[in-house]
Symmetry: C2
Amino acid sequence: MFITIAYIGNSNSKLNELERDYIKKINRIGNTLGLKEIVLKKIKNSPKKNITDRKEDEFSRLSNIICRDSFNILLDRKGIQLDSINFSKIILKESSNSKNLIFFIGGSDGVEKKNHKHFDKILSFGDLTWPHKMFRVMLLEQIYRSITIFNNHPYHK
Amino acid sequence: MFITIAYIGNSNSKLNELERDYIKKINRIGNTLGLKEIVLKKIKNSPKKNITDRKEDEFSRLSNIICRDSFNILLDRKGIQLDSINFSKIILKESSNSKNLIFFIGGSDGVEKKNHKHFDKILSFGDLTWPHKMFRVMLLEQIYRSITIFNNHPYHK
């Protein structure tokens, strides 16, 4: 099983270090649920000035990564909100189905509702708005936490 | 107006740097809403082994900071969930009332529901569980974002 985080946007050096730490930690303990590797896949943001065109262009860039053999999860404020235990259950379920997981983080304008149907699930981390760079670290934290829940590790109690 | 973040717990060097960055940025732009300074106040966690005793002890340590002349906000998963615009409205309202704001972040076991009545408001950042160190940065991010919303700065659009 592979986990991919496909995101529109760019990077920030301080958060990059945190990202790398989480990736290392996830790769170290993920073998218990058959995780081979977690990969970050950066997708260039659209240069289009018009917001509707930009959203469509960025969705089209993301949708190139959608894979029918994988489980495709879009992170979007309008999605279903889960707690960490139920978030971990999704990862566990797909790993036991031997499916690869792809998480999608849209650009700063998000993904149009009409395009949500292309994903297998839409999940929300709550109503607040987060910087994209921080959101990636937050997602990595929940993936790491999920594996510790599965491993019955005291990190999540 | 002063903003205090009172928290139970300890620190992490990488996140400390992010914290310092946000504090600098908030202090730089906060004068538009009369913010004099934002201060982090660390409160030592309880050494008690029993979870009920520890929660009560940590609540008692936090409650020493509660100030009747200030607006006291507890961050708790069971609180009201707001989006960033409505979160900023709370800061704006209290700053226009010339009240100091105190945000409280409990220990890893949280604050008992029966003690919620001692706070003026209970706010939630969603259903997911976060590491305490990361949560402080997330709170600073939302305070910074609130000021950019008030300043009509393009950071939040």
